[in-house]
Amino acid sequence: MKGRPFVEVFSSALHEDYRFPIIETFAFLYALSTFMFASFVSVSTPGELVAYGLISSLLNLPLLIFIILIFKNLAYGLGSDIEKGIIQTYLSYPIKRRWILSAKLLSALGVAILLLLSVQISALYVLAPDVVAPYIGTVLLTYAANLSFPLLIAGIILLVTLILRRGGLALILGIVLYFALGMIQTLALVVSSGTGSPISLQIASVISPNVVLDRYYQTYSPFGTSELWAPTFTEVLVYLGASYLIVASLFLVAYLYFSRRFGL
């Protein structure tokens, strides 16, 4: 009967992570920002490019809001649960430790991702159904490429929170990492342009596959000039897969640490 304690931990995590009106505020901001920041390329370009351009245009602020939510849930929420001894209480429940962490992550990350995607895609469907519906694959691919970077930082924050048992330090590290890795992406473009070699862009693509997706659609665009690096669609998928492999590895290490090394 592991179901009942799992639901108990999950509902308790939901209660802590999304106290009224946190989830409502984020849903409001996601819905509002989708309409406020959506912009369309104003020329007749291929539909896929229009869908990609639309999603890219509206993701900047919502992604930052999403990252704030994740930081709050993981660094502050999980960190204070450890500091207050709530996690230690959960460990006495008759379920495996990995299920406890799964319940916490399902609440902290799963609900946050579900909220972002459901609100934004629904709002986009209201705004431009003929852009979103026929190119739903492109829409989801763009979201997947953009979410990889926040999830990578979430994985690092999770691991640091578990090791240090403190949310505050993990939160600061997360903020520093977010801006540092963001700057590295810009730096990669400058280095690539300067050296004429795409290697730095390819490295940046592993951390943030949005870089490779952006290069792919620049090539695809009628105005695109991608002499530096013109990746194929298969390459886009490879870089996306590689980045999610890194994210999955980080979470796996966190699971292993929580299951085997995390002491009372």
Binding site: S11, E24, A27, L32, F40, S44, V131
Partner: protein, 204 residues
């Protein structure tokens, strides 16, 4: 509090917050980007393209047509070059493509390009068009009768954050659903808060 009340209630409050965002979006005023007014006389059994632009879902196209006879007004999701190209492709030796027969042939062969079709009888007609994708839009007037018709036409383009009617309708549907779902949870939430305050007050 029971789990299903919490789940439905919080779902309801989320719907309420989304409805509030939609309502706010619909209240943002639209800004007019261009307005063109023109007068012309359309000969018997002739057609003309009056306006063409590239439209996005964040732009609304308003057009009003006033005529002293019977006219057909079409809003087509293609540019005028496409219409002329099609007519010339099917009638290579043609010098005057502005006969309504050719337009009708084009429309019969391409019914999907018709976004709006309206008839004007000795009066005025006004329509607003907000596309659901990025598309070319061409306003075409055709005179099916044999007599000439005088036309006054105004076309204006407006920049929007979102299609107002659609967003408002959605908000008005989402509000009551969210409210009904959130009501049981809201009552329990308020009761708990009141009890807590009463307990704290009695302790003080």
């Amino acid at each position: 509090m029971r789990l299903w009340i919490i789940v439905l209630g919080r779902g309801g409050t989320i719907l309420l917050s989304i409805a509030l965002a939609l309502l706010l979006v619909s209240l943002i005023p639209a800004s007019q980007t261009s307005i063109v007014a023109q007068s012309l006389t359309l000969g018997g059994e002739m057609w003309r393209d009056l306006h063409e632009s590239i439209q996005t879902p964040q732009q609304s196209l308003y057009f009003s047509v006033e005529a002293n006879g019977t006219l057909n007004a079409y809003l087509l999701e293609v540019n005028s070059q496409y219409i002329y190209g099609w007519i010339h492709e099917h009638h290579p030796d043609l010098l005057d493509p502005w006969n309504v027969t050719y337009l009708q042939e084009f429309l019969d062969a391409n019914p999907r390009v018709i976004a709006r079709q309206d008839e004007v009888h000795n009066g005025q007609m006004a329509r607003t068009y907000v596309p659901t994708k990025i598309t070319d839009a061409t306003l075409v007037l055709s005179n099916p009768g044999s007599d000439s018709v005088s036309v006054e036409c105004t076309v204006s383009m407006t920049a929007l954050v979102a299609p107002r009617n659609k967003v408002q309708t959605l908000a008005f549907w989402t509000f009551p659903i969210g409210f009904v779902l959130a009501l049981p949870w809201g009552i329990s939430f308020l009761r708990t808060k009141t009890k807590r305050f009463a307990t704290l007050a009695s302790l003080n």
